[in-house]
Protein backbone atom coordinates (compact mmCIF):
# COMPACT_ATOMS: atom_id res chain seq x y z
CA UNK A 1 0.00 0.00 0.00
CA UNK A 2 1.32 3.38 -1.01
CA UNK A 3 2.39 5.85 1.69
CA UNK A 4 1.25 8.70 -0.49
CA UNK A 5 -1.95 10.69 -0.02
CA UNK A 6 -4.91 9.91 -2.27
CA UNK A 7 -5.69 13.63 -2.63
CA UNK A 8 -4.23 16.15 -5.02
CA UNK A 9 -2.81 19.41 -3.69
CA UNK A 10 -5.82 21.16 -5.25
CA UNK A 11 -8.21 18.96 -3.25
CA UNK A 12 -6.43 19.94 -0.02
CA UNK A 13 -6.56 23.61 -0.96
CA UNK A 14 -10.28 23.24 -1.65
CA UNK A 15 -10.87 21.65 1.75
CA UNK A 16 -9.17 24.56 3.52
CA UNK A 17 -11.11 27.04 1.43
CA UNK A 18 -14.45 25.30 2.10
CA UNK A 19 -13.85 25.28 5.86
CA UNK A 20 -13.10 29.00 5.74
CA UNK A 21 -16.33 29.68 3.80
CA UNK A 22 -18.35 27.68 6.32
CA UNK A 23 -16.81 29.49 9.28
CA UNK A 24 -17.55 32.86 7.67
CA UNK A 25 -21.12 31.75 6.94
CA UNK A 26 -21.76 31.02 10.60
CA UNK A 27 -19.84 34.00 11.93
CA UNK A 28 -22.04 36.27 9.78
CA UNK A 29 -25.09 34.63 11.33
CA UNK A 30 -23.76 34.83 14.88
CA UNK A 31 -23.62 31.08 15.37
CA UNK A 32 -20.86 30.13 17.82
CA UNK A 33 -18.24 27.53 16.95
CA UNK A 34 -17.91 24.95 19.74
CA UNK A 35 -15.75 21.97 20.52
CA UNK A 36 -16.95 18.79 22.26
CA UNK A 37 -15.14 15.50 23.02
CA UNK A 38 -14.74 12.76 20.42
CA UNK A 39 -14.57 10.14 23.20
CA UNK A 40 -17.64 9.65 25.36
CA UNK A 41 -18.73 7.35 28.19
CA UNK A 42 -21.92 6.48 26.28
CA UNK A 43 -22.99 6.11 22.70
CA UNK A 44 -25.95 5.94 20.35
CA UNK A 45 -28.47 3.10 20.57
CA UNK A 46 -29.48 3.26 16.86
CA UNK A 47 -29.85 -0.24 15.51
CA UNK A 48 -27.94 0.61 12.32
CA UNK A 49 -25.16 2.72 13.82
CA UNK A 50 -22.14 1.11 15.33
CA UNK A 51 -19.51 3.07 17.29
CA UNK A 52 -15.83 2.26 17.75
CA UNK A 53 -14.80 1.89 21.36
CA UNK A 54 -11.61 1.78 23.35
CA UNK A 55 -10.49 1.19 26.94
CA UNK A 56 -9.43 4.04 29.20
CA UNK A 57 -7.15 2.39 31.76
CA UNK A 58 -6.42 5.53 33.76
CA UNK A 59 -9.96 6.20 35.00
CA UNK A 60 -10.12 7.51 38.59
CA UNK A 61 -12.35 4.53 39.50
CA UNK A 62 -9.23 2.38 39.15
CA UNK A 63 -11.11 0.17 36.69
CA UNK A 64 -10.80 0.30 32.91
CA UNK A 65 -13.62 2.34 31.44
CA UNK A 66 -15.09 1.83 27.97
CA UNK A 67 -15.06 5.03 25.93
CA UNK A 68 -16.89 5.40 22.65
CA UNK A 69 -15.83 7.42 19.63
CA UNK A 70 -18.74 9.63 18.65
CA UNK A 71 -20.86 8.82 15.62
CA UNK A 72 -21.85 12.51 15.64
CA UNK A 73 -21.47 15.37 18.17
CA UNK A 74 -25.25 15.50 18.69
CA UNK A 75 -25.51 14.49 22.34
CA UNK A 76 -22.71 16.73 23.58
CA UNK A 77 -23.99 19.67 21.55
CA UNK A 78 -27.48 19.19 22.97
CA UNK A 79 -25.98 19.33 26.47
CA UNK A 80 -24.53 22.72 25.52
CA UNK A 81 -27.92 23.85 24.20
CA UNK A 82 -29.55 22.78 27.47
CA UNK A 83 -26.93 24.94 29.22
CA UNK A 84 -28.19 27.98 27.25
CA UNK A 85 -25.39 28.02 24.70
CA UNK A 86 -27.56 29.67 22.06
CA UNK A 87 -26.98 28.84 18.37
CA UNK A 88 -23.88 26.65 17.91
CA UNK A 89 -22.00 24.80 15.20
CA UNK A 90 -19.12 22.39 15.14
CA UNK A 91 -16.75 20.96 12.52
CA UNK A 92 -15.35 17.71 13.85
CA UNK A 93 -14.43 14.12 13.12
CA UNK A 94 -17.13 11.49 13.47
CA UNK A 95 -16.58 7.73 13.43
CA UNK A 96 -18.80 4.91 12.30
CA UNK A 97 -17.81 1.29 12.61
CA UNK A 98 -19.03 0.25 9.18
CA UNK A 99 -17.85 -0.47 5.67
CA UNK A 100 -15.99 1.73 3.27
CA UNK A 101 -17.12 2.61 -0.20
CA UNK A 102 -17.36 5.33 -2.80
CA UNK A 103 -19.19 7.56 -0.33
CA UNK A 104 -18.08 6.05 2.96
CA UNK A 105 -14.99 6.16 5.13
CA UNK A 106 -15.34 5.02 8.76
CA UNK A 107 -13.70 8.27 9.92
CA UNK A 108 -15.08 11.42 8.33
CA UNK A 109 -15.58 15.13 8.87
CA UNK A 110 -18.94 16.41 9.96
CA UNK A 111 -20.52 19.82 10.20
CA UNK A 112 -23.31 19.95 12.73
CA UNK A 113 -25.32 22.95 13.84
CA UNK A 114 -28.28 23.84 16.06
CA UNK A 115 -30.65 26.75 15.88
CA UNK A 116 -32.80 27.56 18.92
CA UNK A 117 -36.13 29.02 17.80
CA UNK A 118 -35.96 27.33 14.36
CA UNK A 119 -38.31 24.65 13.10
CA UNK A 120 -36.94 22.06 10.67
CA UNK A 121 -38.59 24.08 7.89
CA UNK A 122 -36.66 27.21 8.76
CA UNK A 123 -33.48 25.20 9.15
CA UNK A 124 -33.98 23.69 5.67
CA UNK A 125 -33.84 27.23 4.31
CA UNK A 126 -30.57 27.85 6.12
CA UNK A 127 -29.09 24.58 4.81
CA UNK A 128 -30.16 25.73 1.36
CA UNK A 129 -28.32 29.04 1.85
CA UNK A 130 -25.18 27.16 2.92
CA UNK A 131 -25.34 24.91 -0.15
CA UNK A 132 -25.74 27.89 -2.47
CA UNK A 133 -22.78 29.56 -0.73
CA UNK A 134 -20.50 26.52 -0.90
CA UNK A 135 -21.57 24.76 -4.11
CA UNK A 136 -22.79 27.73 -6.15
CA UNK A 137 -25.80 25.54 -6.98
CA UNK A 138 -29.43 26.45 -7.64
CA UNK A 139 -31.70 26.68 -4.58
CA UNK A 140 -32.98 23.28 -3.46
CA UNK A 141 -36.31 21.66 -4.21
CA UNK A 142 -38.41 20.45 -1.30
CA UNK A 143 -40.21 17.16 -1.54
CA UNK A 144 -42.12 15.13 1.03
CA UNK A 145 -41.04 11.54 1.62
CA UNK A 146 -44.53 10.40 0.67
CA UNK A 147 -44.55 12.45 -2.56
CA UNK A 148 -41.11 11.09 -3.49
CA UNK A 149 -42.43 7.52 -3.28
CA UNK A 150 -45.72 8.26 -5.03
CA UNK A 151 -43.90 9.98 -7.90
CA UNK A 152 -41.26 7.35 -8.52
CA UNK A 153 -42.98 4.14 -7.36
CA UNK A 154 -46.54 2.95 -6.79
CA UNK A 155 -46.03 2.84 -3.05
CA UNK A 156 -47.48 5.00 -0.32
CA UNK A 157 -44.70 4.72 2.28
CA UNK A 158 -47.02 5.71 5.12
CA UNK A 159 -49.56 2.94 4.51
CA UNK A 160 -47.79 0.18 2.53
CA UNK A 161 -47.67 -3.23 4.18
CA UNK A 162 -44.51 -5.27 4.48
CA UNK A 163 -45.68 -7.68 1.76
CA UNK A 164 -46.50 -4.81 -0.62
CA UNK A 165 -42.97 -3.49 -0.12
CA UNK A 166 -41.50 -6.93 -0.76
CA UNK A 167 -43.35 -7.18 -4.08
CA UNK A 168 -42.25 -3.63 -4.94
CA UNK A 169 -38.62 -4.80 -4.60
CA UNK A 170 -39.21 -7.43 -7.27
CA UNK A 171 -41.13 -4.98 -9.42
CA UNK A 172 -38.13 -2.62 -9.37
CA UNK A 173 -35.64 -5.40 -10.11
CA UNK A 174 -34.03 -5.45 -6.67
CA UNK A 175 -32.84 -9.01 -6.18
CA UNK A 176 -32.11 -9.84 -2.55
CA UNK A 177 -32.41 -13.17 -0.79
CA UNK A 178 -35.24 -13.59 1.74
CA UNK A 179 -36.65 -10.05 1.40
CA UNK A 180 -39.53 -11.04 3.68
CA UNK A 181 -37.10 -11.01 6.61
CA UNK A 182 -36.50 -7.26 6.18
CA UNK A 183 -38.72 -4.99 8.23
CA UNK A 184 -40.82 -2.19 6.72
CA UNK A 185 -38.26 0.52 7.45
CA UNK A 186 -35.38 -1.41 5.91
CA UNK A 187 -37.52 -2.16 2.84
CA UNK A 188 -38.46 1.51 2.51
CA UNK A 189 -34.81 2.54 2.89
CA UNK A 190 -33.71 0.01 0.29
CA UNK A 191 -36.32 1.22 -2.22
CA UNK A 192 -35.45 4.83 -1.42
CA UNK A 193 -31.69 4.27 -1.89
CA UNK A 194 -31.86 2.16 -5.04
CA UNK A 195 -34.96 3.43 -6.85
CA UNK A 196 -35.72 6.98 -5.72
CA UNK A 197 -32.35 8.49 -4.84
CA UNK A 198 -30.93 8.00 -8.37
CA UNK A 199 -33.94 9.92 -9.76
CA UNK A 200 -33.99 12.97 -7.50
CA UNK A 201 -31.64 15.89 -6.94
CA UNK A 202 -29.82 15.54 -10.25
CA UNK A 203 -29.86 19.23 -11.22
CA UNK A 204 -30.23 20.90 -7.84
CA UNK A 205 -30.27 19.65 -4.25
CA UNK A 206 -33.52 18.20 -2.97
CA UNK A 207 -34.65 18.27 0.64
CA UNK A 208 -36.84 15.34 1.53
CA UNK A 209 -38.95 15.87 4.67
CA UNK A 210 -41.68 14.05 6.53
CA UNK A 211 -39.96 10.72 7.07
CA UNK A 212 -42.12 7.97 8.60
CA UNK A 213 -42.46 8.36 12.37
CA UNK A 214 -40.81 4.94 12.73
CA UNK A 215 -37.64 6.58 11.31
CA UNK A 216 -37.89 9.67 13.52
CA UNK A 217 -34.56 9.01 15.29
CA UNK A 218 -34.23 12.18 17.44
CA UNK A 219 -36.87 14.23 15.65
CA UNK A 220 -40.28 15.34 16.90
CA UNK A 221 -43.30 13.52 15.57
CA UNK A 222 -45.30 15.88 13.33
CA UNK A 223 -48.26 17.44 15.14
CA UNK A 224 -50.52 17.52 12.03
CA UNK A 225 -49.67 14.07 10.68
CA UNK A 226 -48.37 11.82 13.46
CA UNK A 227 -47.51 9.17 10.86
CA UNK A 228 -44.53 11.37 9.97
CA UNK A 229 -41.58 12.85 11.80
CA UNK A 230 -40.11 16.37 11.49
CA UNK A 231 -36.96 15.02 9.96
CA UNK A 232 -35.35 15.92 6.64
CA UNK A 233 -32.51 14.69 4.50
CA UNK A 234 -30.67 16.46 1.70
CA UNK A 235 -29.73 14.63 -1.52
CA UNK A 236 -27.73 15.96 -4.43
CA UNK A 237 -26.36 14.09 -7.44
CA UNK A 238 -26.83 10.69 -5.82
CA UNK A 239 -25.20 11.74 -2.55
CA UNK A 240 -26.94 11.76 0.82
CA UNK A 241 -25.54 14.98 2.19
CA UNK A 242 -27.31 16.00 5.39
CA UNK A 243 -29.84 14.88 7.97
CA UNK A 244 -31.81 17.30 10.14
CA UNK A 245 -34.43 17.26 12.87
CA UNK A 246 -36.88 19.51 14.60
CA UNK A 247 -35.39 18.25 17.82
CA UNK A 248 -37.24 16.04 20.27
CA UNK A 249 -37.34 17.85 23.63
CA UNK A 250 -39.28 15.33 25.71
CA UNK A 251 -36.81 13.46 27.95
CA UNK A 252 -39.16 10.58 28.76
CA UNK A 253 -40.00 10.07 25.06
CA UNK A 254 -36.26 10.12 24.32
CA UNK A 255 -35.63 7.50 27.01
CA UNK A 256 -38.41 5.33 25.54
CA UNK A 257 -36.83 5.53 22.06
CA UNK A 258 -33.42 4.53 23.45
CA UNK A 259 -34.98 1.60 25.30
CA UNK A 260 -36.96 0.54 22.22
CA UNK A 261 -33.72 0.61 20.20
CA UNK A 262 -32.01 -1.62 22.75
CA UNK A 263 -34.94 -4.06 22.74
CA UNK A 264 -34.76 -4.22 18.94
CA UNK A 265 -30.98 -4.74 19.21
CA UNK A 266 -31.51 -7.68 21.57
CA UNK A 267 -34.13 -9.22 19.27
CA UNK A 268 -31.63 -9.02 16.40
CA UNK A 269 -28.85 -10.58 18.46
CA UNK A 270 -26.96 -7.28 18.62
CA UNK A 271 -25.36 -5.98 21.84
CA UNK A 272 -27.25 -3.42 23.91
CA UNK A 273 -25.67 0.03 24.03
CA UNK A 274 -25.24 2.20 27.14
CA UNK A 275 -27.85 4.95 27.19
CA UNK A 276 -26.37 8.43 27.55
CA UNK A 277 -27.54 9.51 31.01
CA UNK A 278 -25.93 12.95 30.65
CA UNK A 279 -28.09 13.66 27.61
CA UNK A 280 -31.27 12.48 29.35
CA UNK A 281 -30.51 14.62 32.42
CA UNK A 282 -29.84 17.60 30.18
CA UNK A 283 -33.17 17.05 28.37
CA UNK A 284 -34.89 16.87 31.77
CA UNK A 285 -33.36 20.26 32.60
CA UNK A 286 -34.80 21.49 29.30
CA UNK A 287 -33.73 21.61 25.68
CA UNK A 288 -34.72 24.86 23.99
CA UNK A 289 -37.15 24.54 21.09
CA UNK A 290 -34.65 24.06 18.26
CA UNK A 291 -33.73 22.40 15.00
CA UNK A 292 -30.39 20.81 14.17
CA UNK A 293 -28.66 19.26 11.19
CA UNK A 294 -25.52 17.25 10.42
CA UNK A 295 -23.81 17.53 7.05
CA UNK A 296 -20.95 15.47 5.62
CA UNK A 297 -18.06 17.77 4.76
CA UNK A 298 -16.21 15.15 2.70
CA UNK A 299 -19.28 14.58 0.54
CA UNK A 300 -19.73 18.34 0.18
CA UNK A 301 -16.13 18.46 -1.07
CA UNK A 302 -16.87 15.65 -3.51
CA UNK A 303 -19.74 17.68 -4.94
CA UNK A 304 -17.58 20.80 -5.21
CA UNK A 305 -14.88 18.93 -7.07
CA UNK A 306 -17.14 16.58 -9.04
CA UNK A 307 -15.16 13.74 -7.43
CA UNK A 308 -16.34 10.17 -7.92
CA UNK A 309 -14.88 8.70 -4.72
CA UNK A 310 -14.47 9.95 -1.17
CA UNK A 311 -10.79 8.95 -1.35
CA UNK A 312 -10.35 11.88 -3.78
CA UNK A 313 -11.07 14.30 -0.92
CA UNK A 314 -9.66 12.42 2.12
CA UNK A 315 -5.86 12.23 2.12
CA UNK A 316 -5.52 8.91 3.89
CA UNK A 317 -8.71 6.81 3.70
CA UNK A 318 -8.95 3.86 6.09
CA UNK A 319 -7.30 1.44 3.64
CA UNK A 320 -4.03 3.39 3.91
CA UNK A 321 -4.51 5.33 7.13
Amino acid sequence: MSWQPTTTHQARVDRASLLKTIRTFFEDRQVLEVDTPLLSSATVTDVHLDAFHTQFVHATSGKPQTLWLQTSPEYAMKRLLCAQSGPIYQICKAFRHEGQGRYHNPEFTMLEWYRPGFTHEKLMDEVDALLVATLACEPADKLSYQRAFLTHTDIDPLTASQSELVSALTHHGIDISEPQTLNTDSLLQLIFSLVIEPKIGAERPVMVYGFPASQAALAKVNTHDPRTADRFEVYFKGIELANGFYELQDASEQRKRFEADNLERLSMGLPEKPVDAHLLHALEAGLPDCAGVALGIDRLLMLRAGATAISDVISFPVANA
Binding site: H48, D175, I176, L190, Q215
Partner: protein
Protein backbone atom coordinates in the same frame (compact mmCIF):
# COMPACT_ATOMS: atom_id res chain seq x y z
CA UNK B 1 -13.98 -23.33 -0.39
CA UNK B 2 -13.77 -20.32 1.91
CA UNK B 3 -16.71 -18.05 2.58
CA UNK B 4 -16.43 -14.35 1.87
CA UNK B 5 -18.15 -11.60 3.82
CA UNK B 6 -19.49 -8.60 1.91
CA UNK B 7 -16.56 -6.59 3.35
CA UNK B 8 -14.26 -8.63 1.12
CA UNK B 9 -16.29 -8.04 -2.04
CA UNK B 10 -14.39 -6.44 -4.89
CA UNK B 11 -14.12 -6.69 -8.64
CA UNK B 12 -12.70 -10.07 -9.67
CA UNK B 13 -13.81 -12.04 -6.59
CA UNK B 14 -15.39 -15.38 -7.53
CA UNK B 15 -18.44 -16.43 -5.55
CA UNK B 16 -21.21 -19.02 -5.81
CA UNK B 17 -24.73 -17.84 -6.57
CA UNK B 18 -27.72 -20.13 -7.31
CA UNK B 19 -25.25 -23.01 -7.67
CA UNK B 20 -23.30 -21.24 -10.39
CA UNK B 21 -19.81 -19.73 -10.13
CA UNK B 22 -19.86 -15.96 -10.63
CA UNK B 23 -17.40 -13.14 -11.02
CA UNK B 24 -18.01 -9.88 -9.16
CA UNK B 25 -17.75 -7.00 -11.63
CA UNK B 26 -18.63 -4.08 -9.37
CA UNK B 27 -19.42 -3.69 -5.70
CA UNK B 28 -21.07 -0.64 -4.18
CA UNK B 29 -21.63 -0.10 -0.48
CA UNK B 30 -25.06 1.43 0.18
CA UNK B 31 -25.67 2.78 3.68
CA UNK B 32 -28.30 5.40 4.43
CA UNK B 33 -27.15 7.44 7.45
CA UNK B 34 -29.90 6.03 9.65
CA UNK B 35 -30.53 2.77 7.85
CA UNK B 36 -29.33 -0.75 7.26
CA UNK B 37 -26.22 -1.27 5.12
CA UNK B 38 -26.37 -3.17 1.85
CA UNK B 39 -23.93 -4.13 -0.87
CA UNK B 40 -25.16 -3.60 -4.41
CA UNK B 41 -23.19 -5.99 -6.57
CA UNK B 42 -22.93 -6.43 -10.33
CA UNK B 43 -22.15 -10.04 -11.12
CA UNK B 44 -21.35 -12.10 -14.20
CA UNK B 45 -22.47 -15.71 -14.07
CA UNK B 46 -19.52 -17.58 -15.47
CA UNK B 47 -21.36 -20.45 -17.16
CA UNK B 48 -24.37 -18.67 -18.68
CA UNK B 49 -22.46 -15.40 -19.11
CA UNK B 50 -25.49 -13.51 -17.75
CA UNK B 51 -24.80 -10.21 -16.02
CA UNK B 52 -27.10 -9.32 -13.16
CA UNK B 53 -27.40 -7.07 -10.14
CA UNK B 54 -27.83 -8.52 -6.71
CA UNK B 55 -28.24 -6.88 -3.33
CA UNK B 56 -26.73 -8.34 -0.18
CA UNK B 57 -27.17 -7.33 3.43
CA UNK B 58 -23.78 -6.03 4.56
CA UNK B 59 -22.02 -8.52 6.78
CA UNK B 60 -23.68 -11.46 5.00
CA UNK B 61 -21.34 -14.26 3.87
CA UNK B 62 -21.37 -16.11 0.60
CA UNK B 63 -19.56 -19.21 -0.52
CA UNK B 64 -16.47 -18.63 -2.63
CA UNK B 65 -16.16 -20.37 -6.00
CA UNK B 66 -13.09 -22.45 -6.78
CA UNK B 67 -12.46 -20.76 -10.08
CA UNK B 68 -9.08 -20.22 -11.69
CA UNK B 69 -7.78 -19.10 -15.04
CA UNK B 70 -5.08 -21.06 -16.86
CA UNK B 71 -3.22 -20.29 -20.06
CA UNK B 72 -3.41 -23.27 -22.40
CA UNK B 73 -2.55 -23.81 -26.05
CA UNK B 74 -5.29 -25.06 -28.36
CA UNK B 75 -4.40 -28.42 -29.96
CA UNK B 76 -7.30 -29.91 -31.91
CA UNK B 77 -10.93 -31.01 -31.76
CA UNK B 78 -12.11 -34.59 -32.04
CA UNK B 79 -15.57 -33.35 -33.00
CA UNK B 80 -16.93 -33.56 -29.50
CA UNK B 81 -14.21 -32.07 -27.31
CA UNK B 82 -11.65 -29.33 -27.79
CA UNK B 83 -8.24 -30.24 -26.49
CA UNK B 84 -5.84 -27.80 -24.87
CA UNK B 85 -2.37 -28.27 -23.43
CA UNK B 86 -0.29 -26.56 -20.79
CA UNK B 87 2.94 -25.72 -22.64
CA UNK B 88 5.04 -26.12 -19.50
CA UNK B 89 3.65 -29.26 -17.88
CA UNK B 90 2.24 -30.76 -21.12
CA UNK B 91 -0.91 -31.56 -19.13
CA UNK B 92 -3.95 -31.73 -21.41
CA UNK B 93 -7.52 -30.62 -20.75
CA UNK B 94 -10.61 -31.23 -22.86
CA UNK B 95 -13.38 -28.63 -23.01
CA UNK B 96 -16.84 -29.35 -24.36
CA UNK B 97 -18.64 -27.19 -26.92
CA UNK B 98 -20.64 -25.43 -24.21
CA UNK B 99 -17.47 -24.26 -22.46
CA UNK B 100 -15.87 -23.17 -25.73
CA UNK B 101 -18.98 -21.22 -26.69
CA UNK B 102 -18.38 -18.31 -29.07
CA UNK B 103 -14.61 -18.81 -28.84
CA UNK B 104 -15.09 -21.68 -31.29
CA UNK B 105 -14.76 -19.36 -34.28
CA UNK B 106 -11.42 -17.97 -33.06
CA UNK B 107 -9.58 -21.19 -32.17
CA UNK B 108 -6.25 -21.41 -33.99
CA UNK B 109 -3.89 -24.32 -33.40
CA UNK B 110 -1.12 -23.49 -30.92
CA UNK B 111 -2.71 -20.16 -29.93
CA UNK B 112 -2.70 -19.72 -26.17
CA UNK B 113 -6.22 -19.25 -24.77
CA UNK B 114 -7.42 -18.51 -21.26
CA UNK B 115 -9.37 -21.45 -19.90
CA UNK B 116 -11.46 -20.82 -16.81
CA UNK B 117 -11.67 -23.87 -14.58
CA UNK B 118 -14.35 -24.43 -11.96
CA UNK B 119 -13.52 -27.23 -9.55
CA UNK B 120 -10.90 -28.27 -12.10
CA UNK B 121 -13.26 -28.46 -15.12
CA UNK B 122 -13.28 -25.94 -17.98
CA UNK B 123 -16.32 -23.66 -18.00
CA UNK B 124 -15.23 -20.91 -20.38
CA UNK B 125 -12.61 -20.44 -23.07
CA UNK B 126 -11.37 -16.95 -23.91
CA UNK B 127 -9.37 -16.67 -27.14
CA UNK B 128 -6.34 -14.36 -27.45
CA UNK B 129 -7.32 -10.72 -28.13
CA UNK B 130 -5.92 -11.02 -31.65
CA UNK B 131 -5.87 -14.04 -33.94
CA UNK B 132 -4.62 -14.53 -37.51
CA UNK B 133 -6.89 -16.45 -39.85
CA UNK B 134 -7.03 -17.19 -43.55
CA UNK B 135 -9.91 -15.95 -45.70
CA UNK B 136 -11.55 -18.91 -47.40
CA UNK B 137 -14.19 -16.97 -49.24
CA UNK B 138 -14.98 -13.37 -50.11
CA UNK B 139 -16.32 -11.56 -53.16
CA UNK B 140 -13.64 -10.09 -55.37
CA UNK B 141 -13.52 -6.39 -54.49
CA UNK B 142 -13.40 -3.49 -56.89
CA UNK B 143 -9.85 -2.78 -57.93
CA UNK B 144 -8.37 0.46 -56.66
CA UNK B 145 -10.87 0.84 -53.83
CA UNK B 146 -8.75 1.39 -50.73
CA UNK B 147 -11.11 3.57 -48.73
CA UNK B 148 -13.20 1.93 -46.03
CA UNK B 149 -16.57 2.22 -47.77
CA UNK B 150 -18.21 -0.31 -45.50
CA UNK B 151 -16.25 -3.27 -46.83
CA UNK B 152 -17.62 -6.72 -47.56
CA UNK B 153 -18.15 -9.96 -45.63
CA UNK B 154 -15.33 -12.54 -45.62
CA UNK B 155 -15.54 -16.11 -44.36
CA UNK B 156 -12.48 -17.32 -42.43
CA UNK B 157 -11.05 -20.82 -42.14
CA UNK B 158 -12.83 -21.34 -38.80
CA UNK B 159 -16.20 -20.36 -40.23
CA UNK B 160 -16.16 -16.89 -38.65
CA UNK B 161 -17.49 -14.08 -40.83
CA UNK B 162 -15.95 -10.60 -40.50
CA UNK B 163 -16.23 -7.42 -42.52
CA UNK B 164 -13.05 -6.67 -44.42
CA UNK B 165 -12.02 -3.82 -46.76
CA UNK B 166 -12.79 -4.40 -50.44
CA UNK B 167 -9.12 -4.86 -51.40
CA UNK B 168 -8.66 -7.95 -49.20
CA UNK B 169 -8.90 -11.20 -51.17
CA UNK B 170 -9.56 -14.91 -50.67
CA UNK B 171 -6.42 -16.76 -49.56
CA UNK B 172 -5.02 -13.84 -47.61
CA UNK B 173 -4.37 -14.04 -43.86
CA UNK B 174 -5.87 -11.28 -41.72
CA UNK B 175 -5.56 -10.20 -38.12
CA UNK B 176 -8.88 -9.96 -36.21
CA UNK B 177 -9.73 -8.50 -32.80
CA UNK B 178 -11.67 -11.32 -31.13
CA UNK B 179 -13.27 -8.99 -28.56
CA UNK B 180 -15.10 -6.97 -31.19
CA UNK B 181 -14.91 -9.43 -34.09
CA UNK B 182 -13.42 -6.67 -36.24
CA UNK B 183 -10.78 -6.80 -38.95
CA UNK B 184 -7.49 -5.18 -37.91
CA UNK B 185 -5.04 -5.64 -40.80
CA UNK B 186 -3.64 -7.93 -43.45
CA UNK B 187 -0.80 -10.20 -42.38
CA UNK B 188 2.24 -10.66 -44.63
CA UNK B 189 2.87 -14.35 -45.10
Amino acid sequence: MANYSTNEFKGGLKIMLDGEPCNILENEYVKPGKGQAFNRVKIRKLISGKVLEKTFRSGESVEGADVMDTELAYLYTDGEFYHFMNNETFEQIAADEKAVGDAIKWLVENDVCTITLWNGSPITVTPPNFVELEITETDPGLKGDTAGTGGKPATLSTGAVVRVPLFVQTGEVIKVDTRSGEYVSRVQK
